[in-house]
């Protein structure tokens, strides 16, 4: 997987939202776009990684548990290695308690995580804190 030249993330760039549940994706998109963020959805982690490889994003919001072989934690790991500019621009969403390994990873890297279900204000404040306002 070859990468395009890295660009400093700006608010003009979309936020990559990796979420397999369409209703949740719709809600996240509505909440973020109403706050002025651009959103590029991906229905699976694999699709998300494909988009990451070819495009520039302001940040990444990913569900931890996603269908397919690749999950949110894998996306996190990939970014740590291949997209240093996005290293601290990741927000994970968990549907239930993730396994203890993932939890330990999150704790070590300090990646923010929101648990479903969450309130819009709570979510937006974490996004603004992590990525900055658009």
């Amino acid at each position: 997987m070859t990468s395009k030249p890295r660009a400093i993330p700006t608010a003009a760039m979309p936020i990559l939202v990796i979420e397999d549940e369409p209703s949740v994706t719709a809600f996240l998109r509505a909440a973020l776009e109403r706050r002025g963020y651009a959103v590029t959805p991906a229905a699976s982690a694999a699709e998300g990684l494909e988009l990451l490889a070819h495009g520039n994003f302001f940040g990444v919001i990913s569900d931890i548990r996603t269908p397919g072989r690749v999950n949110g934690a894998d996306v996190h790991s990939w970014i740590q290695e291949h997209r240093p500019e996005l290293r601290s621009r990741i927000i994970l969403i968990s549907g239930d308690t993730a396994n203890s390994e993932t939890l330990a990873l999150l704790e070590r890297s300090g990646t923010p995580c929101v648990e479903k279900p969450f309130r819009v204000q709570e979510f937006i404040s974490i996004v603004e804190r992590t990525l900055g306002k658009p």
Partner: protein
């Protein structure tokens, strides 16, 4: 004698014619040997010549007696047989005393014998002298002296000289004849002995001859054999009567029994009063012993009826006769012995069933025994002189052309070979005797029919070779003399020869001392039965053998051989070892198993109980001989009896669960399996009962099942929670967006708030579910339980006191720390406290909650005791969604979550209704942290964790 004859002839020549005529008449008449006839003729002719009335001749029969033996003429005829004494004076006595002719006229008739009718008046008496001895007196008598002419005396003297001469000649002639007779008898005796008479014939003849020769009227010969009377022979003339014979036999028998010292050494005269003399009725009895060459007594010859005593000459003759007879008897006996033994020898040879044939150098049969002759169909005597080829019928075809079918090497002194002919086998032993002449060369063949023996040998050989057991003959120095194939195979050798060359001690025995032990054992006992000895095969593997051996000894008793039979028991040995292992194994199982194993007989009585039964508290006397069913709780006895019945009928019963009285009287829950044991006839003869106390296991199993149930629910809940959270996230999110939306009317926003509120509740339920489902505690750190308890109490303290619920703390400061997650443990305790709070509030009574901590073994226990209403189903209180509370008051997951947390900590949570008062008690048992056992840890450190 010749000179006398000449002088008489001169006297006669000078006589006259008449006298010369008388001489001639006297010398040619009568038998010259018969003295009586001569005397009688002289009396007759001289009386006639002188013409006198009487003439007589008186013979001197002893020194002083005369017997008138012949008379002639009337004056002398009554005088015959008269005995005269020469001591009384008479004309005869005068003639003897004067030794010349006496003429008396007249004579004294009183002193002179005469006839009754006429008395002599004159007499002449002339002595007849032969060899200077008076033979007798010749007398002439007449009435008057005138009848005697003048020359009478002179003529009478010449005549008497002539008579004397005639008598002497007659005597000599008689003597000569007598000696001739004796010589003849002796010669005949010698001839008798050489003729092959039988002993009785010889003895009969000898006895008769001896009697004859020695002038005995009766002769008896008694023969001995050893000290035994053999036979008695009697010769008697005239014949003796039966009674006399019997008396004689009995006297002789008595004599035979006398000791040898009482038997005379040579011819002896017996006294007239000797019993034998009496028996014979004879005064002159001679007894002579017959003695063998070695001096032993062969017999006794007894001669009686003799007229006179034994003369020296008779003694010599007798001695000679008995010596001769002794010799002959001995010879007879020896000869008869030889004959006897020869006869016996032929009988012996004939009695032998083996064939015997003797032939000479020209292969002519000299002798065959009866069995051979019978086999040929002939008589032994008929075959003598036949050629040996006559025996071809028992010869094999191959040797038919030879002169003797049995001779192989005629020069060998002895031969032995086996001869096969017409389905018979003979062992021919040949001996050859060589002599100086052809007649002395003899070849003896003994044919032994060994057909049966060979057949027997063949059978034994076959048995020896083909038997599957090893057979051997060996020597004390460790070599095999003979082994069979089975033995070779058993020991793994390729050939018999190879095994025969093997040293037993070095190669077969595992160690020299084992061989020594064997040698000692067999030397002592002679026979070893079922002797076990492991031996080394050729390839080095071990052969286990079972041997039966006996020792063969020589005449001195030294062992020369061992003979024996060997069985390969390697497999049995292995099997035995395996059996032993199995037995040990079974025994170990029986002894060490945690199960109680009993054996019941068909009547249901206990005949065996393994050690575990007694370890479990049962006593031997309570079990053995008693019925097992008595230990079964009464409610289950019929079921147990039915199970026994089922088993006895051949159907095994497994894992029958029964309440049983234990040895200590308590009742336990047992799993019982029954299986039947069958005897050789396949009849069930006993029942094996295996019983396991599963009381604890039953509880454990229930807990395990519960724990499994919990885990399953946990996984289910986790999945459900995830699925709920996604739509819930959308619901909450869009509701928030709607509320933010200024276009939405306020009234709708109130409803939206309700949606949010219920969504929030849903979220909490899901959160609880997830907490319950969370499998492993996140942390494992040493936790001070008392600190966690105090903190928890503090959280709820205000609420409790404001609602009048008394909280009593009874914490043991010495309890060790536990390994775990303080927050989770706090959640557990909080849940329990909340539960207790809700319970005591239900009753309306003043509530009291007592919280205590204590150490119990390796565990820390926390007890939360309340005085609430107690719990209807304490067993189900930890099940998820089980709640006693009203709907909407709880999710029913709280205690399930507690259960999961405590389980994950390796501990245990229980809920027990109080036995002494109302309410219930929750017990949480947590294992003490290993590094803190026995150590008291400052409580402050726990605060930090909490």
């Amino acid at each position: 004698m010749r000179a006398k004859q000449r002088s008489i002839e001169q006297s006669v020549a000078s006589c006259d014619n008449a006298l010369q005529k008388l001489f001639v008449g006297l010398s040619v008449s009568v038998n010259a040997d018969d003295q009586d006839a001569i005397v009688s003729e002289y009396c007759k002719k001289i009386r006639a010549f002188f013409g006198v009335a009487g003439a007589c001749y008186c013979k001197a029969v002893s020194a002083d007696e005369l017997l008138c033996i012949s008379t002639d003429g009337p004056m002398a005829e009554d005088f015959a047989g008269t005995l005269l004494s020469t001591r009384q004076p008479s004309v005869f006595a005068g003639a003897i005393n004067a030794r010349r002719t006496i003429w008396e006229n007249p004579i004294d008739s009183r002193q002179t014998p005469h006839s009754a009718r006429s008395t002599p008046r004159a007499g002449l008496a002339t002595p007849v002298i032969i060899a200077e001895k008076v033979h007798g007196v010749f007398g002439l008598f007449d009435k008057t002296a005138e009848r005697f002419p003048p020359n009478t005396i002179a003529d009478l003297d010449i005549l008497m000289a002539l008579l004397a001469n005639r008598l002497e000649t007659a005597h000599l002639s008689q003597q000569a004849s007598h000696y001739r007779q004796r010589a003849n008898n002796l010669m005949n005796l010698a001839l008798d002995s050489t003729r092959s008479f039988r002993i009785p014939d010889f003895v009969q003849r000898f006895t008769a001859r001896a009697a004859e020769m020695l002038g005995a009227g009766i002769a008896a010969l008694v023969l001995f054999r050893g000290a035994k009377l053999e036979s008695v022979f009697v010769h008697s003339d005239p014949p003796i009567d039966a009674r006399g014979l019997e008396a004689l036999r009995s006297r002789l028998s008595e004599l035979a029994l006398r000791p040898a010292s009482q038997i005379p050494a040579g011819p002896a005269e017996l006294a007239p009063d000797h019993p034998l003399s009496v028996a014979l009725g004879s005064s002159h009895v001679a007894l002579t012993p017959l003695t063998g060459s070695t001096g032993d007594l062969l017999g006794l010859l007894c001669l009686g009826g003799r007229q006179r005593q034994l003369a020296a000459e008779d003694r010599n003759l007798l001695q000679a006769l008995v010596s001769h007879a002794s010799l002959t008897l001995e010879n007879f006996r020896l000869f008869s012995q030889i004959e006897q033994s020869k006869k016996q020898w032929v009988e012996d040879i004939d009695a032998i069933s083996d064939f015997i044939v003797v032939h000479d150098r020209l292969h002519r049969i000299l002798r065959v025994n009866r069995s051979l002759a019978a086999f040929i169909g002939s008589q032994p005597s008929h075959m003598i002189g036949e050629p040996m080829s006559a025996l071809r019928s028992i010869a094999s075809q191959a040797t038919a052309a030879l002169p003797c079918p049995f001779c192989q090497d005629a020069s060998a002194p002895a031969e032995e070979n086996i001869h096969l002919a017409k389905e018979r086998a003979y062992l021919i032993s040949t001996s050859r005797i060589r002599g100086a002449t052809d007649d002395d060369w003899r070849t003896i063949h003994v044919l032994k029919d060994i057909t049966d023996r060979r057949e027997a040998e063949r059978r034994y050989r076959e048995l020896f070779d083909n038997i599957q057991e090893g057979l051997f003959f060996s020597t004390p120095d460790g070599r095999f003399l003979e082994v069979n194939d089975a033995m070779v195979r058993m020991l793994g050798y390729s050939t018999r020869e190879e095994l025969l060359q093997t040293n037993i001690s070095n190669h077969l025995y595992l160690a020299p001392e084992r061989r020594r032990r064997f040698l000692e054992a067999i030397a002592e006992r002679g026979v070893l039965r079922n002797y076990e000895e492991p031996l080394r095969r050729k390839d080095g593997t071990i052969l286990h053998t079972l041997q039966n051996i006996f020792a063969v000894r020589d005449a001195q008793g030294a062992i020369v051989q061992y003979r024996g039979l060997m069985l390969d028991v390697t497999e049995q040995k292995h099997f035995q070892a395996q059996l032993q292992r199995e037995r040990d194994f079974n025994q170990k199982i029986l002894n060490n198993t945690q199960s109680m194993i009993l054996v019941l007989d068909t009547a249901g009585l206990i005949s065996y109980a393994n050690p575990r039964c007694f370890e479990a508290g049962y006593r031997e006397k309570e079990l053995l001989g008693h019925r097992l069913v008595q230990w079964v709780s009464p409610s289950h006895r019929s079921g147990f009896e039915a199970a026994l019945e089922t088993t006895a009928n051949g159907q095994q019963v497994n894992n029958l669960e029964l309440p049983l009285r234990r040895g200590d009287g308590s009742t336990g829950h047992f799993s019982v399996s029954l299986s039947q044991v069958r005897d050789e006839q396949n009849q069930v003869n006993s029942i094996v009962v295996v019983m396991t106390d599963i009381t604890d296991a039953t509880i454990l199993q229930a807990k395990l099942a519960h724990s499994e149930k919990m885990a399953t629910i946990g996984r289910l809940v986790s999945g459900v929670a995830h699925e709920i959270n996604n739509p819930l996230a959308a619901i909450v999110g869009f509701t928030d967006l709607l509320i933010e939306n200024p276009d939405v009317p306020e009234s709708a926003k109130t409803d939206l708030q309700v949606i949010l509120q219920e969504s929030q509740r849903t979220k909490e339920i899901v959160q609880d579910l997830l907490s319950f489902a969370r499998q492993a505690p996140a942390r494992r750190l040493p936790v001070q339980v008392n600190a966690v308890l105090r903190q928890t109490i503090k959280l709820r303290g205000y609420d409790f006191s404001s609602h009048g619920v008394e909280v009593v703390e009874n914490l043991d400061p010495g309890i060790p720390r536990v390994q775990g997650d303080a927050q989770q443990l706090q959640q557990v305790f909080l849940n329990i406290l909340n539960n207790a709070y809700d319970a005591v509030r239900e009753t309306g009574r003043p509530g009291k909650i007592e919280i205590s901590s204590l150490r119990h073994g390796e565990c820390v226990e926390v007890h939360v005791h309340d005085n609430g209403p107690g719990i209807a189903n304490p067993d189900h209180i930890f099940d998820p969604f089980f709640t006693t509370k009203e709907v909407g008051q709880g999710t029913g997951l709280g205690l399930s979550i507690c259960y999961g947390i405590v389980q994950a900590h390796g501990g245990e949570i229980l809920c027990l209704n109080n036995t002494d008062s109302a309410g219930c008690t929750f017990v949480v048992k947590l294992p003490a942290a290993s590094e803190s056992i026995g150590a008291t840890v400052p409580e402050a450190s726990a605060e930090a964790n909490a």
